[in-house]
Amino acid sequence: MNRCAALVVVATLTVLCSAALAAQSKTKADPKATNAASTATIEIVPVQDRVYLLAGGSRNVAVQVGNDGVLYVDSSTADLSEQILKATRTLSQRPIRYVFNTHAHPENVGGNQALSRQGISFGGGNTKDQTFALIYAHENVLNALSAPTGKQAALPSDFWPTDTYFTESMEVHFNGEPVELISVPQAHTDGDSLVLFRGSNVVVTGDVFLTTGYPIIDVAHGGTINGLIAALNRIIDIAIPGENEEDGTLIVPGQGRVCDEYDVVVYRDMVTIIRDRVQDLIKKGMTLQQVQAARPSRDYDVLFTPGEGHATPEQFIQAVYETLKSGGAE
């Protein structure tokens, strides 16, 4: 691929998109669900080296391109797949080889089937090549999308991860650089992974880090405030900034703009401070309603525009309160 050419290419495609906070709390994922006839614009934003951001859907999609082929991190919703593929082809004509999922929510796995079916995986020995790209994720993503024999799965098997891990990490070497899925347990969900592109020096975070709102903690599916803060601290551990706490390792959040370590530090500080305030109010014996009425996030509420598919201050405080009370991810 011609990187110089790619840097000046901005593919703008008008599409329908769905974005629903409520959908995140549902057990059954519907990747084709659209809750509004909203118009989204998919834009290619160069991140660093071989990694690009496909922005415009309700969740960010990252793509790494090179001689080995194409690797996606998350696949957005199914209705965006065609536009994502078109945008990708302005960057690379090489085969789609991998889709990595940061977690199991429908806004992140809804395009798995469509993107994977356009790809290829190479066999070896006594196996033959397959006409689909491999899908990698934490084991709990497979658990969320599939079901035991005789029970209804959340999604057809074409959407499921083809390879999973249950250890601290899973790694491949692709397009000339190590690529690592790093487990951050009990954070946004019970199956979150960060994706580290070591050569490009980029971390794709999924929804454990957003620039557009408070964290969305899916308590029903294993998310906890302490696990989420641990995940943010893990990103800070991995990232090495350039001069004056800027540049260096770049961070692609689940929603919002491309960042560097400082942006994550500011977000981590905010989330930790609010967690500590809620913890203090719990120690004073306050109920959830009393804690919400005390508005422990009131100095940060002004940073975010409500009503855009993000957690409201009350929803965020409730998730913090409930997971602190239950001792999740202590």
Partner: protein
Amino acid sequence: MQVTRIGGWLATMLLAASPAVLAQVDLSGTWGQLMHEDNAERGAGPDFADYTGLPINDAARLRAESWDAAKWTVPEHQCEPHPADYAPHGPAGLRIWSTVDVTSQQVVAWHMTHAWMVTTRTIWMDGRQHPPPEARHTWMGFSTGKWEGDTLVVKTTHLKEGWIRRNGVPRSDRGTLTEYFIRHGDILTLVSVVEDPAYLTEPLMRTWNWALHLGYQIAPYPCSARVETERPKGFVAHWLPGTNPQLKEFASKRKLPAEASRGGAQTMYPEYQLELQKAAVPPAAATNPAGAKQ
């Protein structure tokens, strides 16, 4: 310095009186900062809980009251430079130079290096648009400029979250900056206006001055973060609401009513002096009420 309403009027009138021609004053050179103003902002910085003259809202005040200087012991905070809107407070000697298109001989961009941590910003003069919202935010932001008479007017967006006073008063990443660079012979004046829909109820206007200094040199300022104090992993320095024992120190030391130290748009204006005369001044003692530090 903080400019009062009258000062703002004067500045506005002076700018309006400038001839509307495409004058281009040469700003190039090395400039030594005149440190004759804003003494409280220099050196060690302002007192804790001195928010006087800042048009902040309640949210900004709570963030400032939760701020703990122990922040600077955390490695990931140690190498933060001043953002573009605070950088002129310095110490801020300046080096200014331009990039000139060789064919048209037009200035494509102005560049400025600040002495403190050697931050460098670029002000684009070629008419380009500001980037979309999903573009990165940086310490210096994205700046475009145009000449209004002999005044270079600069608009800056895409700033990282920063501060408008070094005692924890925040400026959000939604904040924007408008600047007016005015050269009078060997004196350079900057009028700066910060707007922030998150934390300011009115624009914050400040000015600084520099003198042309032909021998001025900017020294390197490498910064390497180090663990200087053992902290738990993920430590975030802050005070829980109601526990910061430092909040009354400034008002007590200056014999000000506590309300005056808490800032707000009203404290920017001369009329507020009349309000101060009505307010009770607290006794000078009692600066350290009990409070458990987070």
